[in-house]
């Protein structure tokens, strides 16, 4: 392989791992800073939230998606456009509640956990909790203006670990 061709591949490879590695270093640092997993989880959620409120503008500027008319459309945009754009994966949407206000996203291949092994003493750590915060922050910024301030409750986004791998959140929106 010529030097020129291999240069491009090296950059691409490093670039694709950069976020995963940086995230890993962050979680490691947080585990040192906080005594228990619950606090780390909260911190990841909070940081994710702060990222989400800015990320949504980046997303809307780059994706050309229009207003979502209902929650199902929102779910589609999250899974098929946003996740694809930012993480290169398309989670599947399942588990719709009868009222249509709650769903689950299943990440088959979660890029955040590449190369990651959790030691035994961190069984309560929700490693990918940043993602929940990001979703919560992004969605909160784009809630429908028709809803009054009391109508839109804080979105609940949580990760349920069913198979210890890449299970992901549910978005909850309650209308008043």
């Amino acid at each position: 392989m010529s030097r020129q061709a291999s240069r491009g591949t090296e950059s691409k490879k490093m670039s694709s791992e950069l976020f995963t590695l940086t995230y890993g270093a962050l979680v490691t640092q947080l585990c040192k800073d906080y005594e228990n997993d619950e606090d780390v989880n909260k911190q990841l959620d909070k940081m994710g939230y702060n990222i989400g409120v800015r990320l949504i503008e980046d997303f809307l500027a780059r994706s050309n998606v229009g207003r979502c008319h209902d929650f199902r459309e929102t779910a589609d945009v999250i899974a098929k456009v946003a996740f694809k754009m930012y993480l290169g994966i398309t989670p599947s949407i399942t588990n719709w509640s009868p009222a249509g206000d709650e769903f689950s996203l299943i990440l088959e291949n979660n890029p955040l956990v590449d190369f990651v092994e959790l030691p035994d003493n961190h069984s309560s750590l929700i490693y990918s909790n940043l993602l929940c915060g990001v979703l919560r922050g992004a969605l909160e910024m784009k809630r429908s203006p028709d809803l009054g301030p009391g109508d839109m409750e804080v979105l609940g986004v949580s990760i349920r670990k069913e198979e210890a791998e890449g299970m992901c959140g549910s978005g909850e929106e309650r209308r008043g």
Binding site: L26, Y86, P111
Partner: protein, 173 residues
Amino acid sequence: MADAALFEFLHTEMVAELWAHDPDPSPGVSAGPRGGEMGGRKGQKTSLSVLKGMGFRVGQALGERLPRETLAFREELDILKFLCKDLWVAVFQKQMDSLRTNHQGTYVLQDNSFPLLVRMASGLQYLEEAPKFLAFTCGLLRGTLSTLGIKSLVTASVAALPACKFQVVIQKA
């Protein structure tokens, strides 16, 4: 593959998070008598070194994943060129703008529009805040060099945002 914007967003949040946890946060690195400044400076130093440490680990890991052929550089200068081109493109989607050396182990890498500083105001405003946004990257450079077999000290300086210089001093064994 994670989008490049994610790294930038994460980095900004990491800087904010680590700064919020200073035992004694102080606004800037400027000298001058101020009550409790020793504590403030110590707190800042801790946060900067934490960011550098994280960057170092990431740089090491990035270096470790490179194929063997890449690591067979002929000269030290080749390695620095690799940092300025391949590594910089991978992390910041652009090449370093200039590389200078005294051919005695000191290199100055200049980026006229460093992406992690670009979002802040340009010029002299927020100059005091700039070191926080450079610490991780200094560590990253040092970490990658370390994996490539080079021990170094990396510091950064900003005269006017968003341009900055990274100084790499090779440590002889």
